[in-house]
């Protein structure tokens, strides 16, 4: 019985992130538009786009191989699994032990791996540009992320997200320098990973600046839909990751009852909204940087992460 309930919760959680993802993207767009004094598309516009794309036929380049057609599903699967393993409104999910934070990062890594391959598959110069820039960014962002994980794991004594979240909620945490550094680094990494300004601009097709868009340039129809969906899933994942690690309030334990869970969901949605808002504000307040300044940005993140890891030993909270 309990198992079935757990299954149910896990399923709800998966569906929740899946459904919320386009909404979040749309919300960010909306807020940005408003900040720019524009009307902007409605919040549910991404849903419409996705459905439209799904319905369209796929126009496949002649030089595309089977890999090109498999990749969207792979990316979607990997991202979705990763996203569904992050505690959103409740810790101790049924399958949370099946992969810890490192594994989640690795899952995202494999998604990126195949996306970059897809970018090179058709054999156009744009795809190449996108892939090479993407892997360059990743090669710095992933270690930075790893350092953040180290910091948190060393503090929480675990890489298991549920355990970490519970620990972060407990008073044992206190206020630490390394945590602050880690948060800063995490935000920087999140921005880079999701291809937001100032690293990349999701809404441009300007060859000199684009990274992600250049990779998916040849995609169309349902493939493109899946890729867009996984992109917004990724955004949700990162926001909820930051949420569950640094704003663990309202995160319900495994044995919580229905009303608690409902409250938890509400809190979670609130956090998402807050994150999206902050993101929008941040994005519309700064300009995109040149591609070759990105390494400095991410190098800074990496250094921050390493610093956080090392400072962890000196910054005890009690």
């Amino acid at each position: 019985m309990a198992v079935i309930a757990d299954f149910a919760v896990q399923g709800i959680e998966m569906l929740l992130v899946l459904l919320l993802a386009p909404l979040l993207t749309g919300f960010v767009r909306k807020v940005k538009a408003r900040l720019l004094r524009r009307q902007g598309p409605p919040v549910i516009q991404p849903y419409r786009d996705l459905i439209r794309l799904m319905r369209k036929e796929v126009v496949l380049a002649e030089s595309a191989s089977w890999l090109f057609r498999v990749v969207p599903y792979l990316i979607f699967a990997a991202t979705w699994v990763a996203a569904s393993l992050v505690p959103t409104f409740r810790t101790g999910l049924l399958f949370s032990w099946s992969a810890d934070l490192i594994a989640i990062i690795a899952l995202l890594g494999s998604a990126r791996f195949f996306l970059a391959l897809a970018g090179m598959d058709v054999g156009t110069s744009f795809g190449g540009i996108g892939s090479s820039r993407e892997v360059m960014i990743a090669s710095l962002a992933e270690p930075a992320m790893m350092m953040i994980v180290f910091t948190l794991a060393l503090i929480a004594g675990s890489t298991q997200l549920s355990t970490m979240a519970e620990f972060m909620a407990s008073p044992a945490v206190g206020l630490r320098v390394s945590l602050a550094l880690a948060l800063l680094a995490l935000i920087m990494v999140a921005i880079a990973e999701n291809g937001r300004i100032p690293i990349d601009n999701p809404a441009t097709h300007l060859e000199l600046t684009m990274v992600h868009e250049a990779m998916v340039l040849e995609y169309s129809g349902r493939h493109l839909a899946l890729i867009e969906l996984s992109a917004s899933l990724k955004l949700v994942l990162y926001v909820s990751l930051i949420a569950c690690l640094f704003m663990p309030w309202g995160l319900k334990p495994a044995d919580a009852g229905m009303p608690d869970l409902a409250f938890g969901v509400a809190a979670y949605i609130g956090k998402l909204a807050l994150g999206a808002f902050l993101l929008a504000v941040f994005e519309s307040s700064i300009a995109k940087m040149r591609v070759f300044r990105v390494p400095e940005f991410l190098g800074a993140a990496l250094m921050l992460g390493l610093l956080a890891t090392l400072l962890r030993f000196v910054s005890r909270s009690f």
């Binding site: 890999l67 792979l74 054999g123 710095l140 270690p143």
Partner: protein
């Protein structure tokens, strides 16, 4: 009993080598020789596995060979059984691969006899139980592999590769010889049993560690002793490259483990720091070198260097924990390292097989001349992709598991009392993460440029799929990558006796855990379930595909590439390996390789194309090896003048010697 079986297998292999000398010219020889190799290796593999999984006690055999009063001692314990299994697994698959691949060999007599001998050398190193037998097999291994490297001797670069390889190999052997000299003492207690019994002093043990690190490291390819590796591995025929990269470097790891963990006595506090630092440095340097490479096989060879670094990080951690008596943590780190030994041997061999297939199909090793092979050789492309994903440590494949375990071990570092280690280990962790990310980048490049995109040369357009034997070998290893990725628990449990023997503890048994997940310490701390992740991905992928095709559209139309509206450009406009690596080269290369790019533009109106020239410098080579070569040359020139003296001058040399000796006598107390 098992030991007898394995020994007789090596004897059979020796006979096969002799047979190959005799009958190498016949056409069928290739099949016969490699077939026999596969059979012998398979027998030995089964026997070894039965010994390893059956938790059999160590078996000992002494033959009246070698040094007369010593005899040749052989011992099969858990450690050697594991490495022997790695050797035999590689041997079986390589032999099967070669049954197809070897037919393209133009001078089979230069390969066939040495291949079985090479296998013999590797197996005997693992089985040896006294210093003499160990070094004899070790050097024999180097010798035979050198002969294999020289098999395509008409290319001057291969000769150079073989030369550097052999010199470095004998350097390593001499270092190990010195180490064993120390351990054996002046009376020459050469058997490992005696060495274990004798407890060396701290200073002695320290010297042994350094010698073992240089000796085994030069064979394993630790930076800066790696220079021979990227030259020699590509030069050999691909199935041999696979063995050298996938297996022989592991033999070097075995040597290091055997000496440092088993023979050299109690580790001192700084040992682990040295090993960790070297390992981290090696990992990052290896992958950076690889990123700058356009030669497919050389790129793979540099990745061997990287992975050896990762393995040594694991060993260093194990050493650190062992020093402070944290047995379980040490067991975790050691298991991580050894598991990576196995994993790397699998996917690196697989990748070299793939490279060999590409080489036979197109005759090209330079990626800049390849591209679009996924259309011509889809199956090779698939297995190669699996290998790339595995070596890039992507879940749910095996490479990820060992790296994950290593990370888990790193996360135990705060429990270490020593502050130096507390700070060093996370830094090494950062290096590990960096190298992992860069490796992924590098294999996007390798696979993307080689197999994806459009064909860059005509050589690719007429490429055809490789033969069945080769494909079988590659599929087998690809499957193994997946199995070891989704069911790591089985492999971890198999390694338990080793860590029990070496560090006095082992990881908790992984078989009992729910859903076959692996739990290094405790479930609340960290756990990973490759099987479940795999199932999840398969399910959600198929589910989404099914749903979309059903509910939405599954229509599809072929059309020219969009490419932002530019009409179809020539394949030359694709991103090349060089251009792909450019961003990373700008980030790291300017420091590490003094990378400089300069464009020389033709004069206005002239027709020749503008060129982008990138020059990289191998600082390690320039700083370390060039000076040595120059010094030797200088000394040789100076001394060579003595060849051209007159008789009278020679006489005066004799005269001087006499007078000096008499003076010595005169002033002798």
């Amino acid at each position: 009993m098992t030991l007898w079986i394995t020994l007789s297998c090596t004897a059979i292999l020796l006979l096969v080598a002799v047979f190959a000398v005799a009958a190498g010219r016949e056409a069928a020889a290739t099949y016969v020789v490699y077939g026999l190799c596969a059979l012998a290796a398979l027998t030995s593999l089964l026997a070894t596995l039965q010994h390893l999984l059956g938790l059999a006690p160590p078996a000992i055999v002494t033959l009246p060979l070698g040094i007369p009063w010593l005899g040749a001692h052989f011992r099969l314990d858990a450690l050697s059984a594991f490495f022997l299994a790695v050797v035999d697994l590689g041997a079986v698959t390589a032999s099967i691969f070669a049954m197809g691949y070897g037919r393209h060999e133009e001078a089979p007599l230069r390969v066939l006899p040495f291949f079985p001998a090479f296998l013999v050398g590797m197996s005997l190193v693992v089985l040896a139980d006294d210093a003499f037998t160990f070094l004899l097999s070790w050097e024999f291994m180097s010798l035979t592999s050198w002969a294999l490297v020289m098999s395509h001797h008409r290319l001057q670069e291969n000769i150079r590769a073989g030369y550097i390889y052999l010199v470095m190999a004998s350097f390593g052997t001499l270092m190990l010889l010195l180490a064993f000299g120390l351990l054996a003492g002046p009376e020459g207690h050469y058997t490992f049993a005696q060495i274990r019994a004798a407890h060396p002093t701290a200073g002695l043990a320290a010297l042994v560690l350094i010698l073992a690190l240089t000796g085994a490291g030069s064979k394993a390819g630790l930076v800066p002793l790696h220079v021979w590796l990227p030259l020699a591995h590509p030069a050999a025929p691909s199935h041999v490259s696979a063995l050298m990269s996938g297996v022989m470097t592991k033999i070097a790891v075995y040597g290091f483990v055997r000496i440092v963990f088993d023979l050299a006595g109690e580790p001192a506090w700084w040992w682990s720091m040295v090993v960790l630092a070297v390992g981290g440095f090696t990992a990052v340097m290896g992958v950076l070198y690889a990123l700058m490479q356009h030669d497919l096989k050389r790129l793979l060879a540099y990745h061997t260097v990287e992975n050896i670094g990762i393995i040594f990080i694991g060993l260093g951690l194990a050493l650190a924990f062992k020093t402070y008596g944290m047995a379980t943590a040490s067991a975790l780190a050691l298991t991580a390292g050894l598991l990576h030994v196995f994993n790397h041997s699998v996917f690196k061999s697989l990748l070299f097989f793939g490279a060999g297939a590409v080489l036979t199909a197109t005759g090209e090793r330079d990626m800049e001349h390849l591209g679009g092979l996924i259309h011509r050789m889809p199956q090779t492309a698939f297995v190669f992709l699996v290998g790339c994903a595995a070596i890039s440590a992507l879940p749910p494949l095996n490479g990820f598991v060992s790296e994950w375990l290593t990370f888990q071990a790193i996360l135990l570092s705060p429990q270490l009392p020593a502050w130096g280690l507390k700070l060093l280990v996370p830094t090494v962790g950062a290096l590990l993460a960096l190298s992992a990310a860069l490796a992924a980048a590098c294999f996007v490049k390798a696979f993307g440029v080689t197999f994806l995109g459009r064909a860059r040369t005509s050589a690719v357009q007429c490429a055809t799929e490789i033969d069945r034997f080769s494909l079988a070998a590659m599929y087998f290893f690809a499957a193994l990558c997946l199995v070891a990725g989704v069911l790591p628990g089985l492999f971890i449990d198999a390694l338990a006796p080793i860590s029990d023997a070496l560090v006095g503890a082992s990881m908790p048994s992984q078989i009992g855990t729910q859903w076959l997940s692996i739990v290094p310490i405790m479930a609340s701390r960290s756990s990973y379930d490759g099987l479940l992740v795999f199932l999840f991905m398969v399910l959600s992928g198929t589910f989404s595909a099914f749903a979309i095709h059903r509910l939405a559209s599954d229509r599809l139309r072929r059309a020219p590439a969009w490419d932002c509206g530019y009409p179809d450009a020539s394949p030359a406009t694709q991103y090349t390996a060089g251009s792909f690596a450019q961003p990373i080269r700008r980030v790291f290369g300017t420091v590490v390789f003094r990378a400089r790019e300069h464009v020389d533009m033709p004069a206005p109106g002239s027709m020749q194309p503008a060129r982008l020239v990138v020059d990289l410098r191998d600082l390690i080579w320039d700083a370390l090896y060039v000076p040595i070569a120059l010094a030797v040359g200088y000394a040789a020139d100076r001394l060579n003048r003595l060849q051209f003296l007159t008789i009278r001058q020679f006489l005066s040399l004799v005269f001087a010697a006499l007078v000096i000796l008499l003076l010595v006598l005169a002033i002798w107390p």
